[in-house]
């Protein structure tokens, strides 16, 4: 078992090194596509801790992405450096998640999902109408890094990749911790969790704050990367929809699931774009339906099942 673990860690380190050097062999366009994949993987991890591990679907999580992006844009337009603005963006998102979470996390199931969509929409309209601060519906610009575009894209590729690795590692350690045990118990049976004396409110609010932290930093990086953001774009509900699909296909409640899902969906979306320019959303939709029907546990869950079945079969053969 521990030998197996060593092999896994070794493989993961090789994968990390490969990804660091990958941009040298790819076109600028592909580098941007993969950066987007990393970004979606980060947002999907934020969704994963809430939904995959705790059983609460935060459909309005795009609001933290938007908050992260807008705090970054406003801060940088005031002349603050990026590395100062990112913590500010994260803190703002966390504060929002706590303030909104305390009342809303009393709701369960679909009601919670719908309430978060409502909040996301409310923040969107505030951002749209506070023209003096946010630039309104027209969007706002950020300073552009004065370097060769390919270097800049590389920089964001590595930053987003680093963020994804850090996010995934943190999630891994959170889930293994006592706190992770607590949030998993909420998914398994919230009534029982309360009966066991687990402070469910605390666990839920902190989990959402962590989710907001991941998502808002992704938003901050996105804003700096694009150097132009508009409210309808960064508060788009489709961000959350995409992320939910990514999480489900990769495997909700698994550490690597969201990353696998992000690669599958985004790469497929690329193919769909080029092959069916007019119908690409329809093609994407059909593929999603097929996957949900035939791979309901997500790719990582199905692979895990396959390995388990193989082991059981091997054991049976031995016993016969």
């Amino acid at each position: 078992m521990s030998n197996n673990k060593k092999v896994n860690i070794f493989l993961l380190i090789i994968a990390v090194v490969l990804f660091i050097f990958l941009p040298r062999f790819l076109s600028g366009y592909m580098v941007r596509v993969i950066t987007t994949i990393f970004m979606y993987a980060v947002i999907a991890q934020g969704m994963n801790i809430m939904s995959g591990y705790m059983g609460y679907l935060p459909f309005g999580n795009a609001m933290f992405f938007g908050i992260g992006a807008y705090v970054t844009a406003i801060g940088m337009s005031k002349g603050l450096p990026f590395l100062v603005v990112v913590p500010l963006a994260a803190i703002t998102a966390i504060l929002f998640s706590i303030l909104l979470g305390l009342p809303v996390l009393r709701l369960r199931g679909h009601y919670f999902a719908i309430a978060t969509i409502g909040m996301s929409a409310a923040i969107l309209s505030v951002v749209k109408n506070a023209t003096e601060i946010t630039g309104g519906a027209m969007g706002t610009t950020l300073p552009i890094i004065d370097k060769d575009p390919s270097i800049v894209y590389n920089y964001f590729y590595l930053a987003m990749f680093g963020l994804m690795v850090i996010t995934t590692l943190s999630l891994y350690f959170i889930i293994k911790s006592r706190f992770g045990f607590g949030i998993r118990s909420i998914k398994a049976n919230e009534e029982a969790a309360i009966s066991m004396g687990i402070n469910t409110t605390y666990h839920k609010v902190v989990a959402w704050a962590i989710s907001a932290l991941f998502t808002s930093i992704a938003g901050a990086l996105y804003a700096y990367w694009m150097s132009f953001i508009a409210p309808d774009e960064v508060f788009d509900v489709m961000i959350a929809v995409n992320t939910v699909v990514i999480m489900l296909i990769g495997g909700a409640g698994s550490i690597l699931g969201p990353i696998i899902g992000a690669f599958i969906i985004e790469l497929f979306a690329e193919v769909a774009w080029s092959a069916f320019l007019e119908y690409h959303l329809a093609a994407l939709g059909i593929i999603i339906i097929i996957i949900v029907f035939f791979v309901p546990k997500g790719v990582s869950g199905t692979i895990a099942d396959f390995i388990k079945r193989k082991k059981i079969r091997a054991r049976k053969r031995v016993s016969i």
Binding site: R178, N189, A192, S195, M196, G197, I198
Partner: protein, 240 residues
Amino acid sequence: MKDNSLLKISHLDVGYGAIQVLWDVNLELKEKEVVCVIGANGAGKSTLLKNIVGIIPSSKGEIFYSGNNITKMASPERIKMGLGFAPEGRHLFFGLTVEDNLLMGAFQRKYDKRVKEDLDLVYSLFKVLKGYRKKLAGNLSGGEQQMCAIGRALMSHPTLLIIDELSLGLAPVIVDDLIEIIDQLRKERGISILLVEQDVKVALDIADRGYVLEAGVVSIHDTTDKLAKNEHIKTAYLGI
């Protein structure tokens, strides 16, 4: 207040929003005592237990636990003080293994040697569970699930074990086993037990004293010996 009373509830009103369920309930439980609450469906038995554990707030009245007023405490603090709760319908964590389920019960405690001792105690009480340690709790039979739920409640190292519906949906043989274990817990561990039980015969058999809840009001309370002879109980609950 008498010294040896472990739990004392006075003038308790509990409800859900506008609907009041319990009216002016008084209940007392002494150390090392087994007390049962019996009553028809919807009488408020589960509501009473949930309020004692702190899951549902009360609108009036006070609860004292070993001399401390716990009326305003939230459920995590109450569990820490020594309450253990096995909820109705077991409410196990189906996706977790039996052992993880049991350890969940010790969530409030530091995972140290004493937790390990309690785990061994639970396995010695419920020998079936030991064999199923690594099995998912969702795959257990009804009786095994009930054992797991009681075991989980014991993992918080309670001085008062609260069980909601001990025998519901279980085979008579298993109920006999559980009755024996409850007796053992009281005699060997000195744990007091408060239980809700729909099978009045079983309830009167295990408990020292009983409270009868009727439409949210305690109508009779007495020793179980006297309750068994009570005409009203005989006709209404025992069908004699």
